[in-house]
Amino acid sequence: MWTLFYYELRHILRDITQLLVVALLIPLLLTPFVGNSFQRALRQSEALQSGTFFVAVVGPRAQEVRALLPQLGKFKEMPLTGSPGEALRENLVDCFITVEDAADVDSPGDWRLEPLATRSRLAETPRLTVHYNQSRERSQRAQIAFSEGVGRYLSRTRDRYLSQLGIEPKRLYQVHSENLASRRQEQVQLMASLVPIVLIFVLFGTGSVTALDAVAGERERGSLATLLVSALDRRTIAGAKWLTVVVISLTFGLPQLLGLLWNMRGLGGHSLALLSPGSWFCLFFFCLLLCLQVSAVLLWISARSSTFKQAQLLYMPGLLVTGALAAVSWMQALPLRSVMVLVPISGLSLALRDSLLEDFSLWLLLAAAASLCWTLFLLRSVADNLTLDLLDKPHSDVPVEQMRRSLSGDILWYYALAGALMVVVPGNLPILSGLRGQVALIQTTMLFLPLVLLRIYRQPLRPSLRWRNTSLSNWTICLLAAPLMHLCANSVAIISSWLLPMSEEAVRQMTQLLLPKDASQLELFFLIAVCPAFCEEMAFRGGLLHAVQQPRDRLHPSWRTCLLVGLAFGAFHFSVQRILPTAVIGSLLTYVALKTNSIWPCMMLHLVNNALAVFLSSLAIDYTQLPGWGWIAAWILLLYLLKRLAGVGPDREEREASETTAEA
C-alpha cells in the first residue's frame, strides 16, 4: 500500500509548479479579499449603530414628533419632494414616520411597506407608525433606533409624571440585561460556528481534483485496470488512494484555512490564539478526522462515477449535502450530547464547536469513534466499487444469495444513516416535527428504504418481504396473541420506566407528540396504528430480516436474529426509555415472521398493539394496577401461543424455494 501511495503522490505532484499556483498561491491571494469583505461588513454594521439616520415625518400631527426628534436619537429630517413611500423606495430616507390621531387610522393606505405601529392607549395621544424597508439593514436599524428612542422618551416622561405625583420612580422595577460572555467568548462562538463549514469548503476544494481523478479519472484512462490486475487487493488500493487524497487535502487545505482565519481575525480569528492546549489538541484532532471523512466522501463519489465528468457532476450535490450536515454547528440549541453524535459530518462539526468552546466530555470520544466508523464504511464501499466499468454492472453476474450476504453486511449502515437523517431533517424543518410530519417522514422512509435496497441488491421483492399468506391456524393464534403481546410489552415498559425514569415534562412532551389533542381518534388510529404496522414491518420484518436471517432460521428461528432485528426496531423509536419495550415487541414479531414465513401476521399484531395503545390511552388506563401474577400469566400464555405457531414444512419450503428461483 505504501508503494502505491508513494507513486500516486509522485504522480499527482509531478507538475508541482502548476499545483502550487492553482491550489495554494491563488487561494492564498484571494483569502485576504474574503476576510476583508467580512471585516468591512462587520465594521459597517457596527458603524450603523452609532450613525445618523435620515427620516421623514408626515401626517396631520407630524409637528409634535418633529419637535421630539432631537431627543430620540441621531435623526435628521429630510425634506420630501414626492410621497414618503417613494422616498423610502429610492433610499432617500431610511424610514418615515406617520403621526396621526388614533381614531383616524383604518388601513396603511397606499404604503406598501411593512409598518410597525407604536400603539397609544389614549384617544388624544397620536399614533406613530414607523415605515421601513426590511431588506435594507440601515432601514432596519433606523426603525429600531427610533423605537428605542421613543421608548427612552416615554420612560423619562413616565418618571417625570410619577415624580409630580409624589411617587419615587426608582421604586418601580427596572429591567437591565447584562451579558456575562466576554468578547472573546462571543468571538469564539462565532468561530466555532464558522470553522466546520469553512473547513468543509476548503477540503472539498483542495481534495476534489485528486479524489475525482483517483478512481473515475483512472477508470477513464485505463490505469485503474492496470492496478486491478496487480497483486494489490482492492482494499489496499482504496486505502492508498484515500491516503493520497488526505495528504493533498491537508497539505494544501491547511495553509488556506490558516490564511482565511488570519484574514478573519477581526471577526474573532485572533481569539483562537487564546485557546487552551486542550482545545487546540481537540481542534486539530477533529479537523484531522473531518479531513479523513471528507476525503473518503470524495473518493466514494469518484468510485461511484463511470467517468471523471460524471464525478464532477456529483461533486456539487456532494458538497451541498456535506455542507448542510456541517451547518449544524450554527444551531446553538443542537447539542453534541444527543443522537447527532452519530450523524456523519454533523457529529464532527458539533465536536469541533464544543472543542472551541472548551466543552469537553466523553461525547467527544463517541463522536470520534462514530466518525472513524463512517470513514471505514465509506472506504469499504470504495473498495467494493473499484471495478473496471460501472456500466458493466460487475455485480450483475453475482448470484442472488451472494448479493443477499453482501446486503446483510451493509444494511445496518444504511438503516443507521436513514435514522440519522430522520433525526436531522425534522430539526431543520419544523413542519416535520409534529406527529403528522414525523409519520410522513419516518413511515415513508421505512416503506421505501427496504424496497430500494432490495432492488439495488437484486433481491426478489415478494419472497424477500415475505409477501405470502400463512395458515388459518397461525392467523387464529396471532389474533389471540395480539392483546397479550400488548400487555406483555407494557409490562416491559413499566420495568423500563423503573430503570430509566422519564421526567414528567418528558412524558408530557411525548404524550403531546404521540397523542396531539387536535387529532381525532380515527386520525390517530391511522397515524399510530395503520401506518407503522405496514411501513415499519416492511422495513424490519421485511427488508432487514431478509438480509440478516441465517439459513437455519427458516426452520428454527434463532434468538440472535430475533434480537438483532428487535434491537434495531427498538433503536428506531429514538427514545432511550422506549428501546426496551419496543425491542421486546420487535423480537417477538421477528419470531412470528420467521415461524410463519409471512409478514402479514406481524402487520396485524403490530396494528392491534398500537391500536390498543391509542384506544386504552384515551381511557386513561393505569397498567401498573394489574397484579403481578397477571403479567406473568400473560407472558406464559403469549409464549405458549407463539410456540404453537406452525412452522414452515419441507413441502412448503420447496414451493417457496421455487418461487424464489422464478422471481430471480
Binding site: 509522485r10 485505463g222 485496470a225 492496478l227 490486475v229 497483486a231 487487493d233 454492472k393 460487475p394 453475482v398
Partner: protein, 257 residues
C-alpha cells in the same frame, strides 16, 4: 534477458475447467458470455484464442486475470485458483489489454519500478530488473521521459515491459497489436518470441489470423462462448483439409453455429 526457464511444474501452469460467465442484463435477462470453456497451457507455449468480436475471448481472459468472478467452473494459474486465491494468481500473472493504461505523468523508469514493486518483485532486485527491461525493450533514451510524451509504439513497449516487470511465469495478452503499425506489431511479435524462449506460458487473444498463424503453438477457435476447436495449426489443417487459418476459422464458425 538471462533468467533461466522455469522448471516444469507438476500441473500445467494454466488449467481452465468448464469456465462459465453469465451476466444479468436488466433488459435482456441472463446473457451467457462464456459457456463452459476448458483448456490447458503448457510451459513455454503460446496459446492463441482466436475469435470474432463478442466471442467471449476477453471475458475468458478477464476471468483468468481475476478481474471478473466466474459464474461456474474453475481456473488455475500455477496451481492457484483464480476465484479463491486471487492475490497469489496476480503475483504469477502478467495481464495486458487495450484497457490497461499507464500513469501518464510517471517516467518510464518510475513506471517499471512501480509495477515491479506492487507485484511483489524483491525490492533489492528491482533496480537491476528495471535496467534489464529498459535494455531489452530499447527504452534507454526514454528512461526519464514521461509516458504521456511517448509515441504509441514506445507506450506499447512500456506497457509490455510493465506486464513482465515482476517476471511472472504466465502472461496474458488481449489483442495487443490493435492500433499498432506494422513495424510496431513486428516488434511485439519479436518480444513475444523471446518471452516464449524464456519459458513463459503465454495466452494470446487475437482476431488477426496472420498473427495467430505466426506465433501460436496451439490455437483455440472461440465463438459464442465456446471453443469450437483447439489444436496446433497443422492438426487443424489436417482435420479441415484447408490451408489458411482464415478458411479454417470460417469453416468452424459455419459448422459450429
Amino acid at each position: 534477458m538471462t533468467d533461466p526457464p522455469l522448471a516444469p511444474p507438476s500441473d500445467p501452469p494454466v488449467r481452465v475447467e468448464g469456465l462459465r460467465k453469465v451476466y444479468q442484463d436488466e433488459g435482456r435477462g441472463p446473457l451467457e458470455a462464456v459457456r463452459g470453456i476448458s483448456f490447458e497451457c503448457t510451459q513455454g507455449e503460446i496459446f492463441g484464442l482466436l475469435g470474432s468480436n463478442g466471442a467471449g475471448k476477453t471475458t475468458t481472459l478477464k476471468m483468468l486475470a481475476t478481474l471478473l468472478p466466474p459464474t461456474a467452473g474453475r481456473a488455475y494459474i500455477c496451481d492457484f485458483e483464480v476465484a479463491g486465491q486471487a492475490h497469489q494468481v496476480r503475483q504469477k500473472l502478467g495481464f495486458y489489454s487495450s484497457s490497461t493504461g499507464l500513469y501518464p505523468r510517471l517516467s518510464v523508469l518510475e513506471t517499471l519500478e512501480f509495477f515491479a514493486r506492487i507485484n511483489g518483485y524483491p525490492k533489492a532486485r528491482v533496480a537491476a530488473r528495471v535496467q534489464e527491461l529498459v535494455d531489452h525493450f530499447r527504452l534507454g533514451e526514454y528512461r526519464h521521459v514521461r509516458v504521456e510524451r511517448l509515441s504509441s509504439g514506445n507506450k506499447q513497449k512500456v506497457s509490455i515491459a510493465r506486464t513482465v516487470a515482476h517476471d511472472p511465469p504466465v502472461l496474458i495478452f488481449d489483442e495487443p497489436t490493435v492500433g499498432l503499425d506494422v513495424l510496431a506489431a513486428l516488434d511485439f511479435q519479436t518480444s513475444l518470441e523471446k518471452l516464449r524462449m524464456q519459458g513463459k506460458t503465454i495466452i494470446l487473444s487475437t482476431h488477426i489470423m496472420s498473427e495467430a498463424e505466426k506465433l501460436c503453438d496451439r490455437i483455440a477457435i472461440v465463438d459464442a462462448g465456446r471453443i469450437l476447436a483447439c489444436a496446433t495449426l497443422e492438426e487443424l489443417r489436417a482435420t479441415t483439409q484447408l490451408h489458411y487459418l482464415e478458411d479454417i476459422f470460417i469453416h468452424y464458425l459455419k459448422n459450429g453455429r
